[in-house]
Assembly symmetry: C2
Homo-oligomer: 267 residues x 2
Amino acid sequence: MDNRPIGIFDSGIGGLTVAKQIIQTLPHESIIYVGDTARVPYGTRSGDIITKFGLELANFLLRRDVKFLVVACNTISAVAYRQIRDISPVPVIGVIKPAVIKASRVSKNGKIGVIGTVGTIKSDAYGYLLKKFNPKTKIISIACPLFVPLAEEGLHSNQATKIIANDYLKDLTKKGIDTLILGCTHYPLLEDVIKGTVGSAVTIVDSSLPTALMLKERLIETNLLSNNPNPTYQFLVTDAPERVLKIASRFFGRSLQGKIKKVSLED
Amino acid sequence: MDNRPIGIFDSGIGGLTVAKQIIQTLPHESIIYVGDTARVPYGTRSGDIITKFGLELANFLLRRDVKFLVVACNTISAVAYRQIRDISPVPVIGVIKPAVIKASRVSKNGKIGVIGTVGTIKSDAYGYLLKKFNPKTKIISIACPLFVPLAEEGLHSNQATKIIANDYLKDLTKKGIDTLILGCTHYPLLEDVIKGTVGSAVTIVDSSLPTALMLKERLIETNLLSNNPNPTYQFLVTDAPERVLKIASRFFGRSLQGKIKKVSLED
């Protein structure tokens, strides 16, 4: 048993979709979530900068004595997972492997689509792992850079979002995928439009639940589960304008009003 | 005469539209341009963070012995102009006052629209200055947060951009403005869509030329003009992924291939 908190981090607030699933799946675990809202988004930046910022987030949490790190951001997981694992004295999981395992299980025709930020798609982290699980998998990867701002602006069912989704996703449908990985924590907010575009025959795989379940398995294996009846939740961000507070509640699925604290990563 | 460079800075690469006009208007001036592409965009962040980042950019240039600072970013000009002027030993101009003077001159009915980022609109810097020039001015301000990513993704004439532009701008047309200030250096890239939405009777005012002309006046007044027949141009960014290099050339109006250098603001 280990009642220390789990550290969860993201470039911004998209990772709250993962935090929410972790809280639901592991009700005795305390968590510290940190989102780098002062520098979000990471998805359009270079590998060097994504790695630098990712390591700063990980070190911030490690200084707070967390027992486990969850990289709740596809871009950081895709680009800097190895570097974070290398510096971390505690176990680390990202959001990519859990989604890859689930997608490999559910796909029947072995044609899997992956959508994500420019950084995630360019890294080919999903393609690499999908092939490792099944070398015969055919992977069609597409960067959808406008999905993050569209989700953040709440344009979930706007006609403009449908047009942009169609532009991004038409090739996936043509190539006959039966499974689509939402390789960005923002994309579940656009799931209806994405489903409407690729068709209901395609199974959508979102990282959040598979990541929470993998975390549970790993906590059991490593004897790190908590039995705390009153776990604590800390939500930290590096910048907290009104807009972030509003959007954060949307990602978390319930109000975080008054519960988010601003911090500096140097603290 | 003073042959030291002019320092120009922006949250990213949008300010290159201003740098281009300065180079054309003042052909003997050397410039150092710095864009904070590792942390762009600023427009959605809090005033505190915009001010902190803006001061870091200004100090980076001041350490390089510039003779004049140009804040080529509407968000930084709107939120942190005063703080930058307070710490700067050299003169400073922003992009807001030049656009305000021009708009006040060209508007006939005194109804002026202002569009910009959330940070710029929230600051009300345009409204404040427009009223100072003419207290009878009626100002309609609207934040258009999706215009920056749409411009960066090159969706200049996409149907989705037209729908989003119509959603943002329909109120401006209803309220009978005759002049519209593009209060963000990215927006000139969407000028056709914006014109198409507000109608050809509305005069569009973009900061870049008025800012270059005001800079020229101020250099003459302060005896700081250069007579260097071979001025130098430095283009510096805090992160330089391929994407930035490609978009930068679009903003600058000609190729910057191989001419952009990556720096750290701590240097």
